[in-house]
Subunit: 570 residues, 2 copies
């Protein structure tokens, strides 16, 4: 679509603005159907975005998106229409706000709940510097369950600054929103009862609304009024929108259309999770499943449907979900907590303090581990091996395929300590064969004393390719499935004391498997060449996972070169 | 004191119970004055604890303490009076609830905000198992600011279980409680207005109170009624207590007497932080300081007094504080966020996602790093080097003494990226001399090719001792102040390519300095002996820091043995 300028937007008639909304919606739909991306959330906020751009002056005023699943119209309105077709492609536009991309994006987001804190920070800085622009946080109701949002709301009075919070209430996060706050907001959508409005006022916010967030004729005067009120203090504007608005398929299937993948997907680990837990549940009444607003994405839907009384979606509350698991385990249950790797970072303290310090049998099912691709910097799952490597009492497993993941889940039922299993989205099925906790698998043995030690399906595939190429050059190379980061297979490592080990992991090179293996040999006084490949010490941009892996540390050619060197130096 | 049995407590008259409260208070005061510990918080909750033990049946009923700064009377009432004099001593009673210590402690705590989540988990497990005991969370109002508490409250309706939340409202966390929730509770202490009560009801809680939590004649019937109401649903009982109740010095100085140290303390790093920031502020109007309810403990009081408009205590909200810093930095300010190492774990995701992914100039001042001693497992600051070692864009500094800490702070003002400085509580002053970011300091050079590479004051002291002992045995050993974990001093490390390096760090051995140094040599293809000493892969109990360090990985004799071996193998 052609760029709509700020001037055009400021001068347009209401009818013209509505037409613009239609154009934006078409462009978003067209682009997402090619590039993938967040569809329903972006379609739902087109009018809100147009109204914000009409009423406020960006980039002088600051607009901060929570999560950022709803920034596409903003990108299209802020000089990026001509490059919007590059969305989520390597080198192209990010699917999230990015300061490096435009001065209209003042704060990068990706995880839930940060926008109000960030808005308060911008507003406070403005006050201290004697500036006078407006600061707006656009927050979905799903994020309103998150503790960070509450911590920020609690600070409105402490910080004594002025922010506008626009609550984009579509009744959904990625899953439907749940919990007490959701019910409170639900009550307020009709006619807000005085007592509920007063709550927000006690927190230092003037409540305005609810308004229909998909109707410009309601939105524009409401926002103009909010802008006026903002001169005196902080304001919460409650806008009710429809996720997927304007595209009937999205409106009727907002969970499925929250994020759209351009390509068809093969087997997924998460489907195996749902199947296995349902099957295991039959003989294990102590099994419960927990998710933080990700029931479908982590594959728990079948379990939720079969065992609703022991399946819990607590909303975007990764910390609370962890403590809930720890305490249910302390009380004799067997909790499975399924979560994306990047979001598990939110529960880091609870993993240490609640689950592992008490050595409780909670199983963390860590999905989207490794390079996760098109969502970019804020969504890569490349730190989990590093931040779990040093947590006492924890066992960390990395299945080689979906079959081994199933076997690990079956084994986990009787495992009596905390266990983390990390895996990517897609994979191949493979056999379900037995194994021992803490034992690696020797896939190809050799006399050459050069061993590739790879963790997880993606790295094992790279290792197989490297090994095939080495073989074709006459070099024999062994291959080990390093399926545990904690504990390491010490017996096997000791048996490999001669020669060179080359480790491969789909994780930050710092703090992962390579360091663990090298540390093992050092601590045993064994001189050993350990060469390690993993992801570079930088935040990885968006792009295809295999392309990113190749570019940022797991290049087959470089690994093959390492094999050649090791072979030459035997 | 002699043990008061459950039976005695159940049958005692009101007068007898009051006498018991007096005995408990005396015992707590006497023990804390010898052993150190949390005084004011424990004195304030004596009546609440007696009333809970009178009305409920522990350990059948479950009592979960938030944080646990208020569990002493509970310990005295649950069979531990005869060992209470061992409080916080190595091998003695923990200052926090510990499952390993008594069946009356059903869930371990230490960090704020976990108790309601944990109570919901216990209650849900009870329901699923068809049991019928009561589950009670005792939570201070300071924790009520924490996002995790809100996430749990949001779940009360989702989980459809029954818990009793006793809100111990003394207007304090370690610092006075702040923020919107505090003001709301404040309003309710008079006569709770209908609208505020309704808020809790929307979250699925029946509000009861406020009651005087230091008056048994009010408390006992209120708790009995709450127990009755608990049969129908979840209840919030709002008890107003006085921190330090019954000991006038505590009542008048609750911040100072929150935690008591048995010995006199020498110089402290946190005092230097306050002094330096106040001085730096004169030429740097962009400096702001942030704390999560720890103004005094982290040494920021002078800054708060001198520059109240740019000093922010946001309550026990470690995550929000981090985002606030990131956003203020994005808006041109220079934030200093002072926090204990163990509590920084709560902000792990925000360090990655908000501060470092955006490469923002936030300075993290990480206090109580390393073994922190008498608070035990939940308060050791031994993971920070590990969880910061792999975060891209971050610089991590470890000063050798308070003088170097001052120099680092002075340098930090013009540093344009995220910077973490980690230090223990106590230290020696030392010179304030200049240095370059990422450069180590060669303290003792030698021809022997055996180098001790130590991070931080405590490990440098151990290294000096080991070096002296080695010298007395005729062995020359070099010594390097490894004052940066990120970046390493690559030039110096390359110059040490021959011989043996022995690294020492007051951090988990896994993922810290030793691994970083070894990785550096590996990645440069340099064969190098790197022997590493740090803390064992386990949760460290309470005890004197130097005793724990010696016992769990930093034993001088073991390090000297390593020197002897290296010397013999030259």
């Amino acid at each position: 679509m052609k760029q709509i300028s700020a001037e055009e937007l400021k001068n347009a008639s209401l009818e013209q603005l509505k037409e613009d909304c239609g154009l934006l919606r078409e462009e978003i739909l067209r682009t997402v159907s090619v590039c993938g991306g967040h569809l329903a959330s972006n379609l739902g906020t087109v009018e809100l975005t147009v109204a914000l751009h009409r009423v406020f002056d960006f980039p002088r005023d600051k607009l901060i998106f929570d999560v950022g699943h709803q920034c596409y119209a903003h990108k299209l309105l802020s000089g990026r229409a001509n490059v919007f077709h590059t969305l989520r492609k390597r080198g192209g536009l990010s699917g999230f706000p990015k300061r490096s991309e435009s001065e209209y994006d003042c704060y990068d987001t990706g995880h839930a709940g940060t926008a109000i804190s960030a808005a308060l920070g911008f507003a406070k800085a403005r006050d201290l510097k004697g500036e006078d622009h407006n600061v707006i946080a656009l927050v979905g109701d799903g994020s309103f369950n998150n503790g960070l949002v509450y911590e920020a709301l609690n600070s409105v009075k402490i910080l004594e600054s002025r922010v506008l919070i626009v609550l984009n209430d579509n009744g959904m996060s990625i899953s439907p929103t749940v919990g007490g706050m959701h019910e409170l907001l639900g009550e307020m959508k009709g006619e807000p009862p005085l007592e509920d409005m007063k709550v927000f006022e006690r927190f230092g916010l003037s409540y305005r609304g609810p308004v229909n967030g998909n109707d410009l004729s309601e939105l524009l005067p409401a926002l103009a009024q909010a802008k006026e009120d903002l001169k005196k203090g902080s304001v919460l504007l409650h806008a009710v929108t429809k996720k997927g608005q304007g595209y009937s398929f999205c409106e009727s299937a907002p969970v499925k259309t929250h994020g759209i993948s351009p390509a068809e997907i093969q087997s997924e680990y998460n489907a195996a999770l749902g199947e296995e837990l349902c099957a295991l549940r039959k003989n294990h009444p102590e099994i419960v499943a927990v998710t933080a607003a990700m029931t479908d994405n982590v594959g728990l839907r079948p379990f939720f449907e079969a065992f609703p009384e022991r399946a819990f979606d607590v909303g975007i509350c990764e910390e609370h979900a962890s403590v809930l698991c720890a305490s249910m385990a302390a009380a004799g249950m067997k909790p499975y907590y399924a979560i994306f790797s990047t979001f598990l970072e939110r529960a880091f303290d609870e993993i240490i303090h609640d689950i592992c310090a008490q050595n409780l049998p909670v199983t963390l099912c860590i999905d989207r581990a490794g390079v996760s691709g098109a969502d970019g910097e804020t969504h890569q799952g490349v730190f989990d091996l590093s931040f779990l490597s040093f947590v006492p009492n924890l066992t960390v497993a990395i299945p080689k395929n979906i079959g081994e993941f199933r076997a690990m889940l079956r084994k986990s039922v009787d495992f009596r300590g905390p266990l983390a299993i990390r895996y990517p989205r897609e994979g191949t099925e493979g056999e379900i064969s037995d194994f021992e906790i803490g034992k690696f698998e020797l896939l190809h043995s050799t006399m050459s004393d050069i061993i590739l030690l790879a963790a997880g399906e993606r790295c094992l595939k790279i290792a197989e390719t490297v090994r095939d190429r080495a073989l074709s050059e006459g070099m024999e190379v062994g291959l080990v499935n390093a399926r545990f980061l904690r504990p390491l297979d010490e017996e096997l490592l000791l048996s490999l004391a001669q020669g060179t080990i080359i480790t491969l992991e789909d994780n930050a090179l710092i703090g992962g498997l390579g360091d663990a293996v090298a540390r093992f040999y050092r601590s045993h006084g064994i001189e050993k060449h350990v060469l390690s490949f993993g992801l570079d010490d930088r935040f990885l941009p968006h792009g295809e996972p295999h392309v990113l892996m190749q570019e940022f540390g797991l290049d087959e050619n470089a690994i093959l070169d390492a094999v050649r060197n090791a072979y030459a130096c035997r």
